[in-house]
């Protein structure tokens, strides 16, 4: 299983990590994914009603923790992290709107198509981001 994220997600994580209330965010997210198979990650709420490309909203660290939105491409065994927000603290917020859910969905599709992604390593109880090299366009 390979985990990717869109650039917006990386920026968001780095911003939250810089706030003392969320300094464990990389560990919390890493702990959720590390060592799990895709089938074990298919839980939470699924907004897009798709068995092959489930869009998942997951509660991380219980009620007062985070809400994580990610996409799974089952046939490729890939996960794409799209958005995260804390429920409490200075950056805490309520549920996101359907419009916002659609917007992240649109961004992830375009990022997959353009390969503007970061590969996310969940080892060592943290998240490490590595930019995915752009592929040369296929010759006709």
């Amino acid at each position: 299983m390979t985990i990717y994220c869109i650039e917006k997600f990386k920026i968001q994580i780095e911003f939250l990590e810089s706030r003392k209330q969320y300094k464990e965010i990389k560990k919390d997210i890493s702990d959720y994914f590390h060592g799990k198979q895709i089938a074990q990650l298919c839980s939470g709420t699924r907004p897009n009603n798709s068995d092959v490309t489930p869009y998942i909203k997951k509660r991380i660290n219980g009620s007062g923790g985070y809400r994580l939105y990610f996409l799974v491409l089952i046939k490729d065994n890939n996960i794409y992290l799209m958005f995260v927000h804390p429920k409490t603290g200075p950056e805490g917020s309520e549920n996101i709107t359907d419009e916002a859910k659609a917007e992240f969905y649109k961004i992830v599709l375009s990022s997959i198509q353009s390969q503007e992604l970061y590969e996310v390593d969940t080892n060592n109880q943290t998240l490490t981001f590595t930019k995915v090299p752009m592929q040369a366009p296929k010759k006709k």
Binding site: P47, D51, S63, K101
Partner: protein
């Protein structure tokens, strides 16, 4: 002030202290009374924790319902009824929370349990709204549907 007045004043305060000391010894709560009070708090705590646990299970149940595909009109009608019933339950839970908040938490008792109960109500509410969105709003968003279709063809 004369020595006699000083002596009377001291004696008067002394008498009040002695009386208070005697009353205090007499009015100590018995072990049984203390235990009764602690049992009542413990029972209230269990009552609320049971509610919180039950509510967390409801929330997980609602989340699981978002993973169903190929639902027909009858299923959607049942889901709509379920969402309505869940909102009724939420209203009752909020009333319970307010009662606990005013009568118990405001006195510094069971603060973390009451906060936990409130968070479980918030999660339940969030999941009801999400479930409604999954089956009744997002399927009517053409752009959202189109992205799902394009992703499945990647």
């Amino acid at each position: 002030m004369s020595d006699v007045i000083f002596a009377e004043k001291i004696s008067s305060v002394m008498q009040r202290v002695k009386t208070a000391s005697f009353d205090e010894k007499k009015s100590q709560p018995t072990e049984e009374q203390v235990n009764r009070f602690l049992d009542a708090i413990s029972s209230l705590r269990n009552f609320l924790n049971d509610k919180t646990t039950k509510l967390e299970k409801f929330t997980e149940g609602l989340e699981e319902l978002s993973w169903m595909t190929g639902l027909n009109e009858e299923h959607l009608k049942s889901l709509s009824d379920l969402i309505g019933a869940s909102r009724d339950l939420r209203r009752s839970l909020i009333k319970t929370y307010v009662r606990f908040n005013v009568k118990v938490k405001s006195r510094g008792i069971m603060v973390s349990e009451i906060n936990g109960f409130k968070r479980s109500i918030d999660d339940f509410t969030e999941t009801i709204n999400d479930l409604e969105s999954v089956y009744f709003y997002l399927p009517n968003n053409p752009e959202f549907i189109e992205i799902t279709d394009r992703l499945s063809k990647l």
